[in-house]
Amino acid sequence: MSKFGGSNNKKNVPGISSGSLSDIVFMLLFFFMVTTQLRETENKVIVKLPEASESAKLERKDLSANINIGTPVRHLQSMYGTDARIQLNDSFKTIADIRDFIAAERDAMSEAERSLMTVNLRVDEDVRMGIVSDVKQELRRCSALKIMYASRKPGGD
């Protein structure tokens, strides 16, 4: 009787279990942890990489040493001016400091991998070649001969 009566049809809709939500989010988290890398240094120079359609990916990211060249960021311009500067690790350096920097980077690597070290030159597109040539000459003197001109694919950001 009451089966078809429909009078007491107050059936509760079961609540959606949110227990698996955390699993989904954790999966996202692990995905991002694996595919990204920690930004190890703060950028003190503005680097807008030039475009190059033929740029190839660096295979061993852990074996690269970064040299940033560009104009200092806005809030440091009052102190350092707007001329292109070299940034190694976390501070502004000069050409003469590159030797120590390369030596330190080499020391941090294992013996077998030292020859594979790539120096990643991240240079702003508006920088003049003079400073880049100086850096290249210094790198040759330190016999860090594998270099890469960092660039971005056109169309990407």
Partner: protein
């Protein structure tokens, strides 16, 4: 006796915690997008070493120069950057065996003999050249070599360079070398 049930821990907040962690990692990390043009610098020559014997034959060298106003010169004539790639391909491939273009020598690679061009592209720049122009030219040169490699791979293996096995890629790399030398910096323009 009385079976006391342990109360369940409310797990609805783990999602929030995980979201917080996720946001933290999104903010502090960068996508690994390190790409660029890889190069090998020439080692510093010894002081005692004679420079003369390193000099290549004149026909094997083309000098690409970018002056301080970002103007491009290939050989001695001014050139637009859009024409550089084809010019360099012609220079490296030398399809008609022109006596003014680089000579080729037979080279034995993995049991087969290929004609390998001895052409060298020498890239010179001024201190005042902008980095953007420099990379644009480097890019064109690399593109010329890559296209030659693709053509060679199609001829030999019937597939593009990127789809070859590693051993085959090594063969192609040896047969079509990327001889781009970055000359010693010199001041060509006036300051």
């Amino acid at each position: 006796m009385a079976k006391k049930k342990t109360p369940e821990i409310n797990s609805s907040s783990t999602a929030d915690i995980a979201f917080l962690l996720l946001c933290y990692f999104l903010m502090t990390t960068t996508m690994g997008d390190q790409s660029g043009l890889q190069r090998r610098l020439p080692p510093i020559p010894d002081k005692d070493q004679k420079v003369e014997n390193q000099k290549a034959n004149r026909r094997n060298i083309v000098i690409v120069r970018i002056n301080s106003a970002d103007k491009l010169f290939a050989g001695s004539e001014p050139m637009d950057i859009s024409l550089l790639k084809d010019k360099m391909k012609e220079f490296l491939a030398n399809p008609a065996d022109d006596p003014n273009l680089p000579e080729k020598e037979p080279k034995d690679i993995e049991g087969k003999t290929y004609m390998v061009s001895k052409g060298i592209i020498s890239l010179q720049n001024d201190r005042g050249t902008s980095y953007q122009a420099y990379i644009a030219v480097q890019n064109e040169l690399v593109k010329a070599v890559n296209e030659l490699r693709d053509e060679f791979s199609m001829r030999e293996f019937g597939r593009k360079f990127a789809f070859l096995s590693e051993d085959q890629q090594e063969i192609v790399k040896k047969a079509v070398p990327q001889n781009i030398s970055e000359a010693e910096p010199k001041d060509t323009g006036k300051k």
